[in-house]
């Protein structure tokens, strides 16, 4: 065929190949235009389309060879540096190992020399090799073969010289000596500790396998090739499958971790995984998976996706289903029959091995040291850390049950912190000393990066995994201290590195969260949190100034604004939240599919809604309508996420929150029945979730919070016994959570609210002693919170609530003096809070309510003082009601104030002015009730108050008596 004709064939063929079978005929009709030979040629070639999938010629031609012998022959007797090669002792994917002797010395000390094969693109440079070699040479451990030297041969092949170990691979050693399970575990534990030592020196092995763990005749395991894989890393090749697979073949796929075969970052966790495979092999004589070595793709899939068979089950499987070349299963283990061995492995050892083999590197043992410790614990018949359940469950057992585990965490933290100090110093020195070779600097920085990652993930991910656990607070507090030290040290070195600065910003923010983000389970350290947030902001602002359009920075700014908001005045809080919302709305518009962004925006909406007239917030601005709007907006964003994943905890928690916020605003604006409807529907859903997730303390906490709100609405509606039914179990729930986690401030705050709410309800139901006891308890709790953090306005606010409520209860009991004293203390605290943040409407409203209660107490003893209190209350509240006429709660309080003020004026009628004043109060009160009646927000409980007010108004002889007026609001 002439080239031109072939080109024609190729063109048509190519076109046909791009189409699916069904379209080809039409295409060929069109493309060949009746050129029959052309069409025949193309059709005949299409019959061979299978080459594309079946791999015809795909693998390069291979010839049978004895290259091992050939190499041995060609290398023996040759000199490499000062060493003379004696014989070949091993051959592997990466190269060959020779026995050699130092030729220039008197005594002939023998060494092992590994000469490495290189691929076409292996980015090998001698300088980098030497830098790495230096680090490895520093590893001095009785169970690690020393790296003595290294370099490149004349032909440019890299080689390393190692201590020559005369031993047997660990698996063969165990088989040959028929070691018992215990003996194997002890031997293996020593190996883990050696790996841990290397990790502490920031060296990851990357290719752990039995062939690299030799056991000497004395039974001492020695690890070979530490860090060699790193030296020869082909990391600079773009991560195509071919590369990954190539690297996989070069490594040892049987022992490679999922992240390794995927070509992801290799960390200490990868070594933990390989150790897991080795232990699996030592205990079962088998491999966790059956790998098809012919297909790298399949091997990769197996390693990444297949869950290994439990060791105890693996030993009972018939031969041949296990990994190729497996040592006779079970037989080698001296414990006897397969059944007996299976029984021995079941439970702890299954869990230990499988924990190391987890696909998700974060869910494996935190370190080789922890792995070793768990084995030790098993050997001592102590419970092991490993559980087959989820990470969260695992962590809960870990903290709640095993004090030993907590000690382990502390030990790891200490290790980490000291390792960090060393690397930081190295990185800093390297950065300063410009004369140090570039490679070496890059080296130090790379290791610094590695460690940073380990530290970050450890400090924060570990924290996140235990944060919702009952009883985890002391461990978390320790984490905070360590993290703070770490960050402060890091901040010192971060100048001029934007990525590090950004990371630091995030880290400070997270630290602040743990210290005192009131929206999360926090440690109540408001000041510490503020400092952390401010640190984050100080780092972020210059970054944002130089990169104003960087989404990551914008997001961080939003998150930070949101957090600082919670520690700011009411006005600044709302401003910051609006800012965060503005950023997130813009970003979400650009990335509508970004779920996290959606969640974050929804939580900004939710948070903002709380800061408009929500009575459960301790500081807010007026604007019940705005509050309702944002509560609904948050629900609108969150509901679809829950609909898409009905079992997702976070989505459920989010929707639960939004439902309640909407309900809160319905209640605030005078629609308690509708509020109740919302609360009930989401309550059922949360109960079902808890039934399936009984250990999730966050879910229980949320449910309890919700129940408190339900009870409030019921109480408001006058359905006292129903409220009691709801509140009692919730209240017990809070106490149970609080008792399990005595240091969790968030729970304690909730406990205070719980005591007060139960006390108030008890009082209304005539259970006086109970009420007094509860409120005294709430006072005591609040005081202890204030002791932790005297400036925390939240705690102050709760103390005032407690004093006020205690005052009311005492007054009912007739102890007027003490009652006035307590209620007065409450009012005083509130005044100082209002002065501290004049923008805070919540504080003013609470003060008005406190003055109403105080006045009512005073009215029974000193009516003159009472009127004064009521008038103060009215002065505060009247303009607020004018500003937000929809806020039903405030309106009712004001109406009450008018009524009692009117009564107080009339009762203490020394002068005629009081009579007139009393009548004007009655008039205003009646007007408010009438207005509520017109707006359909007058509930049954309030009807007698309305009627009393109307009656008194008539008694005053008001011309406006019973007739509603259109401009009542302006009359206030």
């Amino acid at each position: 065929m002439i080239p031109e004709r072939w080109q024609q064939v190729k063109d048509v063929l190519q076109g046909a190949l791009e189409l699916s079978e069904q379209w080809r005929k039409t295409f060929l009709d069109d493309a060949c235009q009746g050129d029959r030979p052309l069409r025949q040629e193309v059709e005949s070639l299409l019959l061979h389309e299978n080459v594309l999938t079946e791999g015809f010629l795909r693998s390069p031609v291979a010839v049978s060879a004895q290259d091992v012998e050939r190499d041995a022959a060609s290398w023996a007797g040759r000199r490499i540096g000062p060493y003379e090669i004696i014989e070949i002792i091993g051959e592997g994917g990466m190269g060959s190992v020779y026995r050699a002797a130092r030729a220039d010395e008197q005594y002939q000390k023998q060494v092992a020399i590994k000469i490495v094969k290189l691929g076409l693109h292996t980015p090998f440079t001698l300088a980098r090799f030497r830098a790495e070699r230096q680090i490895l040479a520093n590893l001095e451990h009785p169970n690690i073969a020393r790296l003595l030297d290294g370099g490149a041969t004349e032909a440019g092949l890299p080689y390393v010289v190692m201590e020559l170990i005369d031993g047997q691979p660990i698996d063969q050693y165990c088989e040959a000596r028929k070691l018992s399970v215990e003996e194997r575990l002890r031997l293996f534990r020593t190996v883990c500790l050696a790996v841990q030592y290397a990790h502490q020196h920031l060296v990851v092995h990357r290719d752990l396998k039995p062939a690299n763990i030799l056991v000497t005749a004395d039974g001492i395991p020695k690890l070979l090739d530490f860090g060699i894989a790193k030296i020869l890393d082909t990391g600079s090749i773009p991560g195509g499958t071919e590369t990954t697979i190539g690297f996989m073949l070069m490594l040892t796929p049987e022992y490679a971790s999922p992240e390794q075969v995927r070509g992801d970052t290799v960390t200490t966790a990868s070594d933990v995984y390989s150790l897991g495979v080795i232990l699996y092999r030592l205990l079962t004589g088998r491999h966790p998976y059956s790998l098809d070595r012919r297909s790298p793709e399949l091997m990769m899939k197996t390693i990444c996706d297949t869950e290994p068979v439990r060791p105890s089950a693996a030993v009972q499987r018939p031969e041949g289903t296990a990994g190729e070349g497996a040592v006779a299963a079970g037989d080698g283990v001296a414990d006897g029959t397969a059944d007996k061995l299976s029984k021995r492995l079941r439970g702890d050892l299954d869990n230990v091995v499988l924990m190391a083999l987890r696909k998700d590197e974060h869910r494996r043992y935190l370190s080789a040291g922890q792995f070793a410790e768990d084995i030790q614990r098993h050997l001592e018949s102590l419970p092991v850390i490993a559980r087959k359940d989820t990470a969260r469950y695992r962590a809960s057992k870990f903290v709640a049950r095993h004090k030993v585990g907590v000690v382990a965490v502390v030990a790891i933290l200490l290790t980490l912190a000291s390792g960090l100090a060393v690397t930081l110093r190295e990185a800093r020195i390297a950065r300063q000393q410009t004369e140090i070779a570039r490679q070496q600097r890059a080296q130090a920085e790379e290791r610094f990066k590695d460690l940073r990652q380990v530290a970050n993930s450890f400090m924060f991910e570990f924290h996140d995994s235990i944060k919702h656990l009952a009883g985890a607070t002391p461990v978390r507090a320790l984490l905070v201290r360590r993290s703070r030290d770490y960050l402060d040290r890091l901040a010192h070195d971060a100048n001029g590195d934007p990525s590090l600065q950004q990371e630091l910003g995030t880290a400070y923010m997270k630290l602040g969260d743990i210290q005192g983000n009131p929206a999360e389970a926090d440690l109540g350290d408001t000041n510490g949190a503020k400092v952390s947030y401010q640190n984050a902001l100080a780092i972020l602002q210059p970054l944002l100034a130089s990169h104003p359009n960087e989404p990551a920075l914008q997001l961080q700014a939003a998150a930070l604004d949101e957090r600082i908001a919670l520690h700011s005045s009411a006005q600044e809080c709302v401003d910051r939240l609006h800012k965060a919302i503005y950023i997130r709305e813009a970003l979400l518009a650009d990335n509508p599919a970004d779920v996290q962004l959606r969640r974050d925006l929804a939580s900004s909406y939710a948070e903002l809604s709380l800061h408009y007239a929500n009575p459960y917030t301790i500081s807010y601005l007026l604007g019940s309508a705005t509050g309702m709007r944002y509560a609904r907006k948050s629900l609108d964003l969150r509901q679809p996420l829950l609909d898409a994943a009905p079992n997702d905890a976070i989505s459920l928690f989010d929707v639960f929150e939004s439902y309640h916020y909407v309900a809160d605003m319905l209640w605030v604006t005078g629609h308690p029945r509708e509020a109740l409807h919302y609360q009930m529907s989401i309550r059922d859903r949360m109960r079902a979730f808890i039934e399936h997730n009984p250990t999730n303390s966050e879910a229980r906490r949320l449910l309890v919070t919700g129940e408190g709100r339900v009870a409030s609405v019921l109480e408001e509606l006058g359905e006292l016994s129903r409220a009691w039914e709801v509140l009692q179990p919730a209240y017990r729930g809070i106490l149970a959570i609080g008792a399990a986690d005595t240091k969790n401030v968030q729970i304690q705050r909730q406990e205070i609210s719980g005591y007060n709410q139960v006390g108030e309800l008890a009082l209304r139901m005539g259970k006086l002693q109970e009420a007094i006891r509860d409120h005294r308890q709430a006072v005591a709790f609040s005081l202890s919170l204030i002791k932790i953090d005297p400036t925390n306005s939240d705690s102050q606010y709760r103390l005032a609530n407690s004093y006020q409520a205690l005052g009311n209860a005492l007054a009912v009991g007739g102890n007027l003096k003490e009652a006035e004293e307590n209620s007065g203390k409450g009012a005083e605290i509130r005044q100082s809070l209002v002065l501290a943040d004049p923008s805070d409407a919540r504080g003013r409203y609470a003060r008005a309510k406190n003055l109403l209660d105080l006045g009512n107490i005073q009215a029974r003893g000193s009516p003159g003082h009472a009127l004064r209190s009521f008038q103060d209350g009215i002065a505060i509240l009247a303009p607020m009601v004018t500003a937000d006429p929809d806020d039903w709660l405030m309106e009712r309080t004001l109406a009450d104030l008018y009524s009692v003020a009117g009564l107080a004026s009339v009762d203490g009628a020394q002068i005629t002015r009081s009579q007139r004043q009393g009548c004007s109060f009655f008039l205003k009160g009646a007007a408010l009730w009438r207005d509520m009646g017109q707006r359909n927000v007058l509930i049954e409980v309030d009807r007698p108050k309305f009627e009393a007010a109307a009656r008194r108004q008539r008694e005053c002889g008001s011309p406006q008596g019973g007739r509603p007026t259109g401009n009542l609001k302006t009359n206030r």
């Binding site: 080239p3 010629l57 693998s59 390069p60 291979a62 004895q66 290259d67």
Partner: protein, 216 residues
Amino acid sequence: MTRILCSAKETGFGVCAALSSSSSSHVTELLARWSDGDAAAREALIAVVYPELRRLAGKCLAGQQRHQQHQTLQSTALVHEAYLRLAGQSSLRAENRAHFFAIAARLMREILVDHARSRGAAKRGAGCLTLSFDEAVALPRRPQIDLVALDDALNELTVMDPRQSQIVDLRFFGGLSIEDTSQVLGLSPATVKREWSIARMWLQRELRRSEATHDS
């Protein structure tokens, strides 16, 4: 060029020892000259590369004749090893490497095909030359390829489409990846992939036809 059959006598330590460092810098220089457009440099290079490749392959082939172990050595490894021995300096520019592999792949093909022909084992490479097929299990009865027939087909393909035939040389005999091949030939990886697919379809058809002729 005279094709020398590989034999045990010619392989061995002597050749390797004779390879001095001056010859390796010589190779570097030749590669540089060739990439600067000096056609004579290519011939000179072949004169150096061919014996080395042949020596490496020959050793394995000689061993195979004694029906010893069935370890396989891929042509890729041979080519790479030759490269390391002849020009294994990290100072070599990337295009020089590419040129080296282009030559070596072609030479590898000559060596292997020569060997197949010489042993009279032309048909389906009975013995020495085997393929590590991905689908060895799926095609247990015919795991080998008739290298002589492949060579004939490739020669035919060269006339029709020299670029495709070169791609086959580099991929199959040189063991180069798609990426490497595209670098050597200065094509986009997508083009290499496309041409490689069509070439294999065509080659498979031609080999089946030649098989049918021989069998009948």
